[in-house]
Symmetry: C2
Subunit: 470 residues, 2 copies
């Protein structure tokens, strides 16, 4: 259905697909709340001036204009116009500054909302999609321990989503200070440029990146080689990370008595702490991977990307990092660390690659049959009693032949059909209330004031279709 | 906070306020699902041509343009541009037509989403707000019983929302056929015009409406008087409705042998059925009120507005009706009936007039204290155990003095503070795990593998502040 979206880049789900997405969102929210994050929602629009701050993404903005402004839209500078937010980080930084007096810091917030990107839609890219973010924002300072706790919350989320068919996820962490210190130690100065090119490694390969480092960032062949050697370093514990890094420093003559090295070792210490602390709680869930660069220039320390076993095509499904300077207010500074999941892409994977589907299309566990339109209020009364006790119930659209009513339940996946008491033409025909499980064929006498569905049929849930069977 | 929104018309809530909104949305969704409605979400944008179909609202549209299009936006006709949806009905009609082959009819759907109106914001009017809609859409035909069942679902919703401080709600129903037949019987022909003017009754009063009927709709004084007499008719059962209507027909010489009267009696029969059937299930919840007109021209039968006891300033909080021709596809017709709640306005009322507030700001029931940064992983481990058993837990931001850690819990309304085992300096000082309810002062030994919070503190909930006390 995303494939068949009538407007390219704007996915829309069928009710059965939306049921999966809804339960994914419920699950993600549950994990966020269990971890004590506060939910907020921000308006869909921001001032153009806020959206344009982040240079790299300016091309992706949708600007708004009221119908009355058509023809004179360009009279207003883009900075003064409203645009749709393209992420949840820019709105968060504004929200924190505007409401700083009313918030408790460190401010831990979750936010699940749609974002929009006004780009030319490419294969698998959405112009509208749901993002699920957590961030912790400090007032003035922010303890480092959040840099390991937040990726671990996202690991918990990804673990919960395995029930929806997602593969195991691994967070790959790096640290901007480590990379910057190393590059400076090599004698490079265009740090943002180097990060931008290294970020392309997975897409264009080492050879092309080497060329770009030389052509665009003023690197010589040996410096470029060093950048790639650093990017090649991975480790799942702090001591092997340190060892690998020191080996590189030695090989490329990076002197310990330099500011560059001091900066790098700050980043190294944080990164080593992250992998070691994470390993205590979830061994193997977070590794150091020094090719992680992240294109966005507001990160100042830790950066994260998350990859799925056996689904490299999906790329990073959860990314983020630490930003010390995103939000400021006069002399006040609000450093933060946060990660973001692109939920729509995950849901698309669950539906189209993992075989996730709802146990039933309708939330109703019961369809109450209707013998004739005159007695519809009897059927409505039964449904009302069931709902009072938390059992979702629908009532048959029409007093059609029973077979047709059962087909309606079947189409919607409603497991039970309820038959109201039927006086019948003769005493022998008269029956009390009965309920039939149309999946098992089992039929029994029942009282709508006390009957309960079997646990497995009580709630709509999500199942993974056995591809071999299907 | 809505008052203090930094952008007029775009409300944003503080975390404590959002907690109320979130639980309102959860509650509304629960009622929709209990009644067997399927949840969908539609994209935020529609083609300009779809949005402009409904003439009356064209002024309220926000159009989109990509940043690259700035300066040349007007080259594209408005019909071919994208705009943000201003309701959930236009998207539904498109969705049904596009997906008709994959849906089960009658299609019962709920949808809770933001909508946008590009109007000049007036007092209390939002440019961005959350709407909660239910509709039933048939394929070809749609049984009349939905015209009483849908308003009753909304009555259930409003009943549930009384826990959030909302007053009792009453649905006021009318029928377009009844009004149109009556107006035609009087000899009037500009039916849309008359409906539009009668719709203004609450705002500008009978005298002004009379003037407008004469000036704008070609009515003479007696015809205008008759329109107002009809609008004055209310009834809470079918027979007194019939009696009142027949009295008016007699007084204004509306002949039974006319097409106009036949049309009116069709509407009368439906409206009488609605109030009588609704009274069986929820006496007094739905009344006939013949001044209900609804400005929108796509309604073809029943129309509804919902008013709150003691809150006339809020106007109608839930409106809708039957539309036989909103969605068509070639010769196919998809008649529907639906109602829509403007949730943001209700939440605003709850927060600012009814004193609704969350039992705590944080979803966490427990804050785990941290003795020193070295033992933070012990505190993290305790929190992880609690979360595993569904108990939301936060961990103290820093190993500050205990008083400061407790203040952090207090600010967020977290009821319990957990003290990890403390080896102490001497054997007498050493203590096992303990948990303290900081609201009651009660402190006890506890084991994070088995301890449960008191039920009243288990989940974040919404309370109504006693205004007298406050």
């Amino acid at each position: 259905m995303a494939k068949g979206a009538s407007l390219s880049g704007f996915p829309e789900w069928l009710p059965s697909e939306r049921a999966v997405e809804q339960r994914v969102i419920d699950t993600v929210r549950k994990v966020f709340e269990l971890n004590g994050f506060l939910g907020i929602e921000t308006r869909a629009v921001e001032q153009g001036s806020s959206l344009l701050k982040k240079g790299e993404t300016s091309k992706e903005i949708y600007l708004l204009s009221r119908l009355q402004e058509v023809g004179s839209e360009s009279d207003t500078p883009v900075e003064d116009r409203l645009g749709l937010h393209f992420d949840l980080t820019v709105p968060l930084s504004r929200y924190v500054v505007e409401n700083s007096g009313a918030l408790t810091f460190p401010f831990k917030r979750w936010q699940i909302q749609k974002v929009w990107r006004g780009e030319r839609p490419q294969e698998g890219r959405f112009r509208e999609f749901v993002q699920a973010d957590i961030d912790v924002v400090g007032n003035g300072d922010l303890p480092e321990h959040y840099e390991v706790e937040l990726p671990l919350v996202m690991v918990s989320v990804m673990e919960e989503l395995r029930a929806f068919g997602m593969p195991k996820a691994t967070v790959h962490a790096n640290n901007r200070k480590l990379s910057e210190g190393f590059y400076r130690g090599l004698g490079l100065t265009d740090i943002e440029g180097v990060l931008r090119e290294v970020d392309k490694l997975d897409k264009i390969g080492a050879e092309e990146v080497t060329k770009l480092l030389v052509q665009e960032c003023g690197a010589d062949q040996s410096q470029a080689e060093a950048c790639l050697a650093l990017a090649d370093l991975t480790a799942d514990d702090g001591s092997s990370l340190r060892l690998g890094f020191e080996t590189l420093c030695e090989r490329y003559n990076i002197n310990h008595d330099t500011e560059a090295y001091t900066l790098a070792s700050e980043g190294l210490a944080t990164l080593a702490m992250i992998v070691d602390e994470a390993a205590k709680i979830r061994p193997g869930a977070v590794i150091a991977d020094l090719k992680i660069a992240r294109g966005l220039d507001y990160y100042t320390g830790s950066v994260y990307e998350t990859f799925l076993d056996g689904a490299p095509a999906l790329g990073s499904v959860c990314s983020g990092g630490r930003y010390d300077n995103l939000a400021t207010q006069g002399k006040k500074r609000y450093p933060g660390v946060g990660l973001s999941i692109g939920l729509s892409r995950l849901v698309s994977y669950m539906l189209h690659s993992a075989g996730a589907k709802p146990s039933r299309v309708s939330p109703a566990a019961v369809l109450v049959a209707v013998w004739d339109e005159e007695s519809r209020s009897v059927s409505n009364g039964i449904a009302a009693q069931l709902r009072k006790r938390g059992i979702a119930a629908d009532v048959s659209p029409s007093a059609a032949k029973l077979g047709k009513q059962i087909r309606y339940a079947d189409h919607l996946g409603i497991p039970y059909v309820w038959f109201p008491a039927n006086s019948g033409d003769s005493p022998e025909d008269s029956k009390g209330e009965q309920v039939k499980n149309i999946l098992t064929g089992e039929q029994q006498n029942a009282d709508c004031l006390s009957w309960m569905p079997d646990t497995v049929y009580a709630q709509q849930s999500v199942q993974i279709e056995d591809k071999a069977q299907a």
